[in-house]
Every structure is written in C-alpha cells, then in structure tokens.
Amino acid sequence: CLVTIPLTRIKSMRENLREKDKLKDYLEKHPYNLAYKFVESVDPDT
C-alpha cells in the first residue's frame, strides 16, 4: 500500500535567526558542514 504523509513547509531556522538578527552570530560559530563521522569516545557528561 502507498502511504502518503503530508508535509508542512515551515519557516527555516535561517529565516528565524535573520529576523532576530542572530544569523551572523550563528554563521560565524557554525559554518555549514555535513560530515558524518563515528568517533568512539566517552562523553564525560554521559
């Protein structure tokens, strides 16, 4: 059977941040990257 799920287009975080004049801050702190890497380590908090 074909199952169709409706998707709603939302305002992106980018637009939200820009409207609140926080986009520059974000982009400086978090340049775009998409890199998956599994690094086995122990998170001290955990």
Binding site: V3, T8, D43
Partner: protein, 328 residues
C-alpha cells in the same frame, strides 16, 4: 562506548511531518530527512532551553516504552545533543512500527535550537549511517512488510505552505510529468549519486569532469565546495552581506539563465527563480552556499529543497537507485 554522529546544521530544515510515539501516542513534528538515518525527539528530562519550546516525550506515560540504557551523543554543526537510546511504537498515517529504536535527548544541540520549528528528526538515509546496532525506521517498515515496495518519494510544493508530501511503499504519478529517470546510488550511505557537470549557457561552471552529489531533504539550499560556489556567486553577481549570506538584485531573477545540473546524461535545469530566493523587504539571496570541512574536502555537492521542489524524487532502496522527474 558512546558514538559521536556528527550531523549537519539545522539551519535550513524546512518541511515537517507529524509522527506519534508511545502508547497512548505522543505527537511530534519531525523533519523527514534523507541526510541522516536516526529518529530522535526531545525527552521530558531535557534540560536545554530549546526543549522548553518543543514537544517532549514522557516515557512514564507509555506502556510500550523500553529503555536500552545506552547513552548516545549526537554532535551537530550547531551543537551537541546528548541522550539515550530507547524503543517504542512509532506511528504515522496508519503505519505502526513497534519496538522502533529512537534517541531521546537530555540536552539539545546548541542554544540555536530554540529557533527550530521542529521537535526532532526522522532519518531516511541508509542504515550504514545509523547508530550502530539500531535499525532505521524505513528498514523496519520494509522488514515488517508494512509497505509494498522498498522505496519512498518526496514531492515538495513550490509555493504553498501545504501540499508537500512524502510517500512510502509506492509512487503517486500525479506528482510529476513525463518519465522518471533512474540514477544509480554511487555510495549507499547518503542518497549519493554521480553528477556529470554543472553548466550555464552551455559552459561548465562547476563539477567539470564529474563530481558526487547528495540528494538531501534536510538541506534547503544548493551546497558545494567553497571555491566553486564563490565562482558561481561571482557569475550571478551575488555579493556577500554582513551576515555572511550572498545578496543579489531581485531584478536579475528575470534575466539570469538557468543553471543546469547534468546527471547520468540528463539535464536538470534550475531557473534563476529557484536559485535566487526572495526574503523580506524586497531583498533577494543566492540559494548557493559553501560547505566546509569533512565531506567538502572533495568536490561534492548537496542538492537540497531548492532542487527537490523542481524535481519529484524517488528513493529506491530495493534497487539502490534515485528516480528524478519534473515535479508538477
């Protein structure tokens, strides 16, 4: 040990669907994301300010909840999410997937998540990308015989807020024109394919000699290697603004030519009305952006919603192929 999964920024995620987790079901708005493979939502134990704005899962209210006890730590471009692995029934549109593994966050990634209009992420990439030892949702739907074909497809509407859909187990032909062109997945990790070139007015402007591209519903823009994207920004006369984005004269939407992505010998033109986006107050921005680090060391591209709004896309796990056709 704890596995770090470095996921990308959530800056541009823009299409959400509703799922329910638990018995009785608790409702969440999630991104159906072909650029990752795990399902996670915030938990009631989450201490981050971002969780105050989102629906949170309360395990104590679900009679079908099972905790695995295994901590997970998902690292993002925009911060880190710490949490733990759990199992429960996940439902959407009549599909009921029992004992589905999912992440419950104790801490949300970065304070910027406060600006995210979604609660969590439902990953639809390959199982090789998922947290070790877990089975992604789509694989469970198929293994449990809940869908009749091992594929899913996206239609992203160009204008309206509503009208976009993701369909599982089959393809509704009313969402595209002509025939689907099938492209082999070049590496079953992301939904990755080999692209021939990117050109404008017949001249190759990027990806000369071929490159790799990922079709990613969890990205809005067209993301490529810095140097190449900078060249494209120059060609379309986009100028970097103080916020780091590239702004462009809105009038050029009517004059700039298509930028053509050639994949498997077929041309997929992207008109200026798609690679330029109109913001507020009559400002326009380029929909090309630079990727940095990791994947972008090589000549790889991410084709996000800008591309998916133009081309109906079928993600066929049964044949490891991607089907593309002009969207209606």
């Amino acid at each position: 040990g704890v596995y770090y999964e470095s996921m990308r920024n959530y800056l541009d995620l823009a299409y959400v669907g509703t799922i329910r987790i638990g018995t009785p079901p608790q409702e969440f708005k999630v991104i159906f994301d072909t650029g990752s493979s795990d399902l996670w939502v915030p938990s009631i134990y989450c201490s981050s300010p971002a969780c105050a704005n989102h629906n949170v899962f309360n395990p104590l209210l679900s009679t079908t909840f099972r905790v695995s006890g295994r901590p997970i730590h998902l690292q993002y471009g925009s911060g880190t999410m710490s949490g733990f692995l759990a199992y429960d029934t996940v439902q959407f549109e009549g599909l009921v997937d029992e004992s589905q593994a999912f992440g419950l966050s104790l801490r949300e990634p970065g304070k910027f998540m406060e600006y995210a209009v979604f609660d969590g992420i439902l990953g639809l990439a390959y199982p090789s990308l998922s947290l070790q030892g877990t089975i992604p949702i789509f694989d469970n739907l198929w293994k449990k015989g809940l869908i009749s074909q091992e594929l899913f497809a996206f239609y992203l509407s160009k204008k309206e807020e509503e009208g976009s859909v993701v369909m599982f187990g089959g393809v509704d032909h009313s969402y595209y024109r002509g025939d689907l062109n099938w492209v082999p997945v070049s590496k079953p990790f992301y939904w990755q394919l080999s692209m021939d070139s990117i050109s404008m007015n017949g001249a190759v402007i990027a990806c000369s000699g071929g490159c790799e591209a990922i079709i990613d519903t969890g990205t809005s823009l067209l993301i490529g290697p810095s140097s190449v994207v900078l060249n494209i920004q120059k060609i379309i006369n986009a100028k970097q603004s103080y916020s780091g984005e590239y702004m462009i004269d809105c009038n050029t939407i009517n004059t700039l030519p298509d930028i053509v992505f050639t994949i498997n010998g077929i041309n997929y033109p992207v008109p200026a009305s798609a690679y330029i986006r109109e913001g507020q107050e009559g400002t326009c921005y380029s929909n090309f952006d630079e990727g940095r680090g990791g994947l972008f060391v090589s000549d790889s591209w991410i084709l996000g919603d800008v591309f998916l709004r133009l081309y109906f896309t079928v993600f066929d796990r049964g044949n490891d192929t991607i089907g593309l056709a002009p969207a209606v």
